[in-house]
Amino acid sequence: MTRLAPDRWAAIVLFAAAAVTPLVVRDTFVLDSVILILLWGALSAAWNVAGGYAGQVSLGHAAFFGIGAYAAALTSARYGQSPWIGLAVGVVLSIAAGAMIGYLSNRLRGPYFALSTIAFAEVLKIVASRWRGFTAGSEGVPVPFRPGFWTLGLGHVAWLYVILAVALLAYALQVYLERSRIGYQLAGVREDEDAAEALGIATRRRKVQAVVVSAALTSGCGSLWAQYVGFVDPSHVFSIDLSVRFALNSIIGGIGTALGPFLGSVLITSLETYLRATFSGVKAGFTGIYLIIYGVVLILIVRFAPEGLTGIAARVAVRR
């Protein structure tokens, strides 16, 4: 490896830009936007491990996100313990749930797998809504703010660096999947399971491993999100909107690429933030229009760049 590929350079630029933002800007709106771009990027990268690299397209990753969010929120709100402990508990629970979902992927393929993951997230949503004694039901759980790193009561600047570290971890995990044995074997599983078996790859075990790692990372991000936002409620954290967002960032940015989820997140998150800020609020009358514009942009991308933004870049590079 003497020369870095252009997409690696793009990632370096992106992460470096995020890292220097707090040195230049102190505006919380900007910092908040950068944090969310990185967080949704990391979550989409986590999804990409299963959906992109292993080809197990899930539309229920909100399940793991919600498990993580609730684990952290309840640990600090109900038991007064550090949300880091909650994060660890959430990761353990999500590994168990991920193993179950991963096992399902051996029975149900393609769209049937995606449907079963949706159902799984919906079941958790109902459980969280109804189990009032423990989760406070649909009222949700406000997360107490206790300043400090151990209690994850942080300012925007500190949050930015915590989330940046997670984003780098998620990116590094994907890069690992592009050059390691397990990564190549997952690519084989994704491309053709029968052929992968013929070459000695334990396809079932590999798929479960991919979904488990993906679930664990999603759950960890969910815990951090809960602490950052300060409020967890079932209809949001287990929603299909979230699951779709994880998938969409990757698909728009470039599925199965390390940079894709982050590029997708830059585009989708900033577009959404901008449209929401511009077309809602006092001037209203246009309250819902950002969703329409958002939808049109998605259609255009799927129509003209079916391989995502990294695909466009690759095509331009080839043409030269």
């Binding site: 390691s180 044995r181 190549y184 074997q185 052929a195 992968a196 013929a198 070459l199 000695g200």
Partner: protein
């Protein structure tokens, strides 16, 4: 280079293997013995159970009756990847390339089965790619290859797992004469490297020249077995498959 079985030792034994799909018996009580260094051909009309037999041997189907013994070990019911790691692998009649990956990556994924380090697997893949005449296409996407080269890729990827027994399922079908000559040559070279082969093929001319022994399947049963000469003169084989106009001169 390749792990070899002791010459003449039994590599594969099928003991009265039967595979049914509902009321249909696709393979009926087929017994077979393959010794190290053999190049066994399997022929038979469409629907005779040839590919089903491969699926049973390689672990894709579990037979209702009978046993599959590979190198003295009962592999009946083992998953395909476990059988492949023991040194028995197969190619697919309908080729299954990893379409979005390069030829080099396709072959390397095969090599990674024996060589866990990516760097070593890459070197091994390059060697196999050269052996299979795919070197000029190593960086091409597998799905962009014409069928002749995809058939070669299928063989290359299987070879990279360093099998002792390789099942080739119609690697010559649908090729033009030049491609055909190339792949016949490739099969010979693979055999010369010490890999025991079982080959399913419809192209009798090639089969007659390649195979040391031929088994004829018909309606899932073993109808005949013998040298190419014996098979070509076998009344039952001529009636069921070759037809009257077939003669050895043509082959």
């Amino acid at each position: 280079m390749w792990p070899r079985s002791a010459p003449g030792s039994r590599v594969l034994t099928l003991e009265a293997v039967t595979k049914r799909f509902g009321g249909l018996t696709a393979v009926r009580a087929v017994s077979l013995e393959v010794r190290a260094g053999d190049l066994l051909g399997i022929i038979g009309p469409n629907g005779a159970g040839k590919t089903t037999l491969f699926n049973v041997i390689a672990g894709y189907y579990r037979p209702e009756e009978g046993r599959v013994v590979f190198d003295g070990r009962d592999v009946t019911g083992l998953p395909p990847h476990a059988i492949s790691r023991l040194g028995l692998t197969r190619t697919f009649q309908i080729v299954k390339p990893f379409g979005n990956l390069s030829v080099a990556d396709n072959v390397m994924i095969g090599a990674l089965t024996r060589l866990p380090r990516v760097r070593e697997a890459r070197v091994e893949a390059d060697r196999v790619i050269a052996l299979c005449g795919l070197a000029p296409h190593a960086r091409a996407r597998a799905r962009a290859l014409p069928i002749g080269l995809r058939k070669r890729l299928e063989v290359a990827r299987a070879l990279a797992t360093r099998p002792r027994l390789l099942l080739l399922d119609e690697v010559m079908a649908g090729l033009n004469p030049a491609e055909l000559a190339g792949i016949v040559d490739l099969v010979r070279r693979v055999h010369a490297e010490g890999v025991t082969l079982i080959v399913i093929e419809h192209i009798m001319a090639a089969m007659m020249r390649l195979a040391q022994r031929i088994v004829m399947l018909h309606h899932g049963e073993k109808l005949a077995e013998g040298t190419p000469q014996e098979i070509a003169h076998d009344r039952r084989v001529v009636d069921a498959y070759l037809g009257e106009e077939f003669n050895l001169a043509e082959a």
